[in-house]
Amino acid sequence: MPMPRHFLDNPDKTIGQLVHEVASRYPRSIALIHSERGVKYTYHLFLSEIRRVARGLIKIGI
């Protein structure tokens, strides 16, 4: 069975929690590449950027 099977066991999760789980499982895998920008995010870096932005959003109290 391909990977997604894992998530079927956790139907009670949010998108945030699932991305966190994936990033903890494959921290060194590539999550995102943008060729034009010339940037590359491992899952570890991707999650850490998401968390900074999420905290920034909380801080500015939109």
């Binding site: 139907p11 945030g16 994936v22 895998s29 995102l32 900074r52 932005v53 905290r55 500015i60």
Partner: protein
């Protein structure tokens, strides 16, 4: 003031990493993402910001010359929005830059974020995506975590994706195909999402597929055609591609044969979905024969049901009978602030009525055959406009035909055919009358004909048949 759970935040940017980072960050805080169409004008932007009640906007300055900033400045955004976050090298007064946002994020205790996340439930709304309607204003489709997660998971399984895959993402992220069917699906699988460029640029996409060794490709038939017809396209650079999905329009046999047989994207699927159903509803299987991947949209994903309903009697139809395609399972929570529209789209048993006409074979493979709202019922007889239009197109001098129904007090609906002629065409109403008498059977023949110079259109160039119906009713019935 705190950034509260359930706040609506608009996101307006081309395909850049910040789009996906914002999407997931907003989901973590419990805010609701409202994607804005890249081509939105000031009027569309204002309508969506106001209707969704967005308190803030995350945006790029523009593709080249700060076009989005210019559009934003045309509306009174300060009365709508409390905050604007700008992703740009330049800074703008009264806007928070992306870098500042991250820096001040460092001042916030991780525990605060964890607490906030703890309050978010899988059944909470996570996005409101606006559908472009051919009949009136766009409607906001409210989607929850569990719907997007489940559809992404089941479509990943159907495609045979794994964490080893590298998904090429060039479909616009503001569209559900981009942000859910490619990006979220890839990320929840632990795969890599490869973005060649900010917008659809065939040359950059081709070099990225080659350099990054993408394994899956996604797009509409016309996008894929633009790539393989490009002078820089080399089939040998696509050797790593084996998977993916074609959606948005029927895939011509010629294109499918090239992709699967000549280029070797052996496992590519065809899928059908709508925003209201949290993305894909049906998909073909990676090993389906080519003709099934061309003539059908596959079978229902295992997480949802599909049935074909008689639009008049409301009864379920047996195989090979045309009716309205309905689906149940992981649907939207509703249209935002439109309870009436929601109630008329989802029936009491939880079926969403798509408005698409289709038929199913005994193995569950579905074909799409047209749009329901265009079907005319006159004195109990169903008339399919495209069938009559196809006959009228055979007349020399005809440039465009619209066959449509409008309400009639005794017959239910009456039929009109309005025709645009080619320049200098000498077609008369008499000739037209004779031709239709010979070629269109009486039960389906239009009652009224008219030559016109233009049709009412949407901004995206689709004819608004409901406007034609209003015009015809006034013209033909108010006089009777």
């Amino acid at each position: 003031m705190a950034f509260k759970k359930g706040d609506r935040v608009a996101l307006w940017a081309p395909n850049i990493p910040e789009w996906i980072i914002s999407q997931i960050a907003l989901a973590k805080t419990g805010a609701i993402l409202v994607p804005i169409d890249l081509g939105a004008g000031a009027e569309d932007l204002h309508y969506i910001l106001e209707q969704s009640g967005c308190t803030s906007l995350i945006m790029a300055g523009g593709l080249q010359h700060a076009e989005y900033i210019k559009t934003l400045s045309k509306i009174d955004y300060k009365s709508l929005l409390e905050k604007v976050i700008i992703i740009d090298r330049k800074s703008y007064p009264e806007m928070t830059s992306w870098n500042e946002l991250m820096e001040i994020g460092d001042e916030v205790d991780p525990e605060t974020l964890a607490k906030r996340e703890g309050k978010v439930a899988p059944t909470d709304p996570v996005a409101i995506m606006y559908t472009s309607g051919t009949t009136g204003k766009p409607k906001g489709v409210v989607l929850d975590h569990v719907g997007l997660i489940t559809k992404s998971t089941f479509s990943a399984m159907r495609q045979g994706l794994s964490n080893q895959d590298r998904l090429c993402l060039f479909f616009p992220l503001f569209h559900m195909f981009g942000n859910t069917c490619i990006s979220l699906t890839g990320l929840l699988t632990g795969a890599s999402v490869i973005m060649p460029s900010q917008t659809f640029e065939p040359s950059k996409i081709l070099s990225t597929i080659n350099r990054e060794q993408c394994t899956a490709i996604y797009g509409s038939p016309s996008m894929l055609m633009a790539l393989i017809d490009h002078p820089e396209f080399k089939p040998e650079s696509w050797q790593t591609l084996h998977k993916g999905t074609i959606g948005g329009a029927p895939c011509p046999m010629e294109l499918m044969r090239k992709l699967v047989k000549d280029i070797g994207i052996s496992d590519i699927t065809v899928a059908y979905g709508i925003t209201e159903a949290s993305s894909w509803i049906t998909m073909t299987r990676p090993d389906d024969p080519l003709d099934l991947r061309v003539s059908t949209i596959g079978t229902a994903l295992e997480c949802n049901e599909v049935k074909i309903l008689d639009p008049i009697t409301g009864e379920d139809l047996p195989p090979y009978r045309q009716g309205e395609l309905c689906t149940r399972g992981f649907l939207m929570k509703g249209y935002y602030h439109l309870p009436g529209a929601t109630a008329s789209a989802i029936d009491k048993e939880g079926w969403f009525h798509t408005g698409d006409l289709g038929e199913m074979d005994e193995k569950g493979y579905v074909k799409i055959t047209g749009r329901l709202k265009d079907v005319i019922v006159r004195e109990g007889i169903e008339i399919y406009p495209t069938e009559v239009e196809d006959i009228l197109y055979k007349l020399p001098g005809v440039l465009e035909v619209q066959v449509f129904g409008f309400p009639h007090p005794e017959k239910g609906q009456e039929v009109a055919a309005w025709i645009k002629l080619q320049k200098g065409a000498g077609l008369s109403l008499d000739t037209l009358g004779k031709f239709t008498k010979e070629h269109v059977d009486k039960q389906r023949a239009p009652q009224y004909y008219k030559f016109v110079t233009e049709f009412p259109m949407t901004q995206s160039g689709k004819v608004q048949k409901f406007k034609l119906a209003e015009m015809a009713r006034k013209q033909y019935l108010d006089r009777d």
